[in-house]
Symmetry: C2
Subunit: 364 residues, 2 copies
């Protein structure tokens, strides 16, 4: 399939909002035993439940290594398409393509960012990441979608949220991190985002969820419900280090207008109580040099903001926390037309992310 | 995607003729150095030319191992879709799905035969063949096509040709070979073919091309141009061992009527002069226990019948032989509406097959 050297913006393409109609969704199958405990079997079971929920709402494809193909096909529901797709780990939100649309022609293309495992040799989470960096292109081939390779520009899909109407939400903690594009100024990064995503205005939040190993991906702390309305992960506990981060972002959002000049409505989505890795969970993970260890007592970056918006549905993580119900209530209020499917997400959390991180929508 | 335990015939499906309209075509990328000389580089160049020719006529997908993915993408034309697809070798005609169609609903499904490398432990050509045996299923997943696994029944797509109107052409040499389904009688095999392909009548030819290592696949000696008309590989040289084989098949065809009661028109397609492996060609192949060796002087099973019928076109092998032109003339006469693309095929021949063997049509 065609690789393009122009940019989406110059060709009339932009990134739609996740809440716009999808042709389908992509996931990758977890397997690496130095990130997923017990040979990834509990994680695979959790991914299967996410896949089951998504495939009720829209077509889903799961990419899987050759070695795990049979196992994945056997565990996943019939409705799910399973394809071979080499990867270093299963975070298709971050290594997958960012699809863009031309509203005049309705054509879909994709941006293939440089992926360096959330920080490369500076503070990346594993080595190597060569297979992940090819995931976007391989998905584009399967879908017969032309792609723009953002040569020399490191970005993960989880670090951006588009409102589909010219506004992009991101965090300084991530996009200005020294492990990604240290040679670019903030203005140069804005220019890249503009030309690759068809974006006119960027709302720069400061930090992400406390201790989020992605250097504060926006998709764990703030997402767009509809143009002009965002959900922000929130705690009222002023002693929690998360409070100051969320409060700072709240103030930024309330002090900004979006690309269309709208004031931004901020809906607070409560966080669960802090969740930490148990000794048993830690012991199930292979210790491998170069891969971020999973140590007993480490606090996990749990957040309900990391849900997936599907056609007519939401797939929302639960943590066995009293706020599980509160989060569903808030989300149901914000998305009245969508059915909420709740999936236990602790096993995904243990790998360093959540439901949104393991999905990638493909716009219709 | 769904795996079905019924049979195509009972569900109203049958195998269309190759000359009917296609949604596209599949190929696999050659790489094994114990079958393809010089690390498969000359074969890859030949496959690229076949791919280029087919992709002028219809959408083409090439399946490739993870290891060869980048190389294949770089060598193949932009119009070709490239997907990861593990395999033991590149004969998608034989290990790929046989697509079937329901004429009432226009739905496409596929038969996933058991593949055992042309004879399994009896006289198969390499070991193991586990990845090949999964190729059909993986193609069906990518295409979102439901499939029937023909559990316990060994068959390769190159051993059958359908006229799309109830008649199947095959050879006794192959289908009754001891390495495939020795526990089944000829009548039981007929029953299987009937229920998996929606076939009413089978024309049993005797043997295939002389020394064809597939145990005489029909697709190298005889193919259907249109219902009631077949092309038969032919030599007038009575001293060539091929003569008696072709003559016997000619007599069978002339003495038969097809499923619709038509007498069969047989068009003779001349063979090239015998082609043998050179010392240099033989030396480029790794010698590996369990894989058929490629020895200097071995006669190759060259035949023009092994062409591919695409939408509006034919892709025809050439052998640097005076009959190259004659074959094209005959084929152009038989397929007046189709453009003939000629591709040099010696490098494919050296691996044990030809253009038809490395392709698999997917009906529209």
């Amino acid at each position: 399939m065609k690789r393009l050297t122009s940019t989406p913006a110059s060709d009339g393409f932009h990134m739609p909002g996740e809440f716009e109609p999808h042709a389908g969704c992509w996931m990758l199958w977890p397997e690496r035993p130095d990130n997923w405990r017990l040979g990834a079997k509990p994680a695979q079971a959790a991914f299967v439940e996410v896949a089951r929920a998504i495939s009720r709402f829209e077509p889903l494809t799961v990419g899987v290594s050759a070695a795990q193909y049979d196992n994945a096909v056997n565990l996943l529901p019939d409705a799910v398409r399973v394809v071979e797709l080499s990867n270093n780990d299963s975070w298709v939100r971050d290594c997958g393509p960012t699809f863009v649309r031309n509203d005049a022609t309705r054509e879909i293309r994709a941006v293939d960012w440089v992926f360096n495992a959330w920080g490369g040799l500076y503070d990346g989470l594993y080595f190597p990441w060569d297979k992940d960096d090819e995931v976007a292109r391989k998905i584009c081939e399967i879908e017969r979608v032309a792609s723009y390779r953002a040569e020399g520009f490191v970005l993960e899909g989880g670090s951006i949220h588009s409102d589909g109407e010219g506004t992009l939400y991101t965090t300084e903690e991530c996009l200005l991190s020294p492990g990604r594009n240290p040679e670019l100024t903030k203005e140069q990064i804005e220019e890249k985002l503009g030309s690759y995503l068809g974006i006119e205005k960027i709302i720069w939040l400061k930090g992400g969820i406390y201790l989020d190993e992605t250097n504060g991906h926006v998709d764990n702390i703030c997402c767009v419900a509809q143009p002009g309305t965002v959900l922000l992960a929130w705690t009222d506990d002023e002693n929690d280090p998360q409070y100051a981060i969320s409060k700072e972002n709240y103030d930024i959002l309330k002090g900004s207008t979006d690309a269309r000049g709208r004031e931004i409505q901020v809906i607070k989505l409560p966080l669960p109580a802090p969740i930490c890795i148990t000794a048993e969970e830690s012991q199930g993970v292979d210790a491998v040099d170069g891969t971020l260890p999973r140590c007993e007592g480490d606090r996990l970056a749990a957040s309900y903001v990391n849900f997936y918006t599907a056609n007519g549905g939401l797939v929302v993580p639960s943590f066995d926390d009293p706020n599980d119900e509160v989060a569903v209530e808030v989300l149901q209020g914000v998305f009245p037309g969508r059915e909420v499917a709740v999936v236990p997400a602790r096993e995904i959390l243990l790998g360093g992310g959540n439901i949104h991180c393991i999905t990638q929508q493909q716009p219709a």
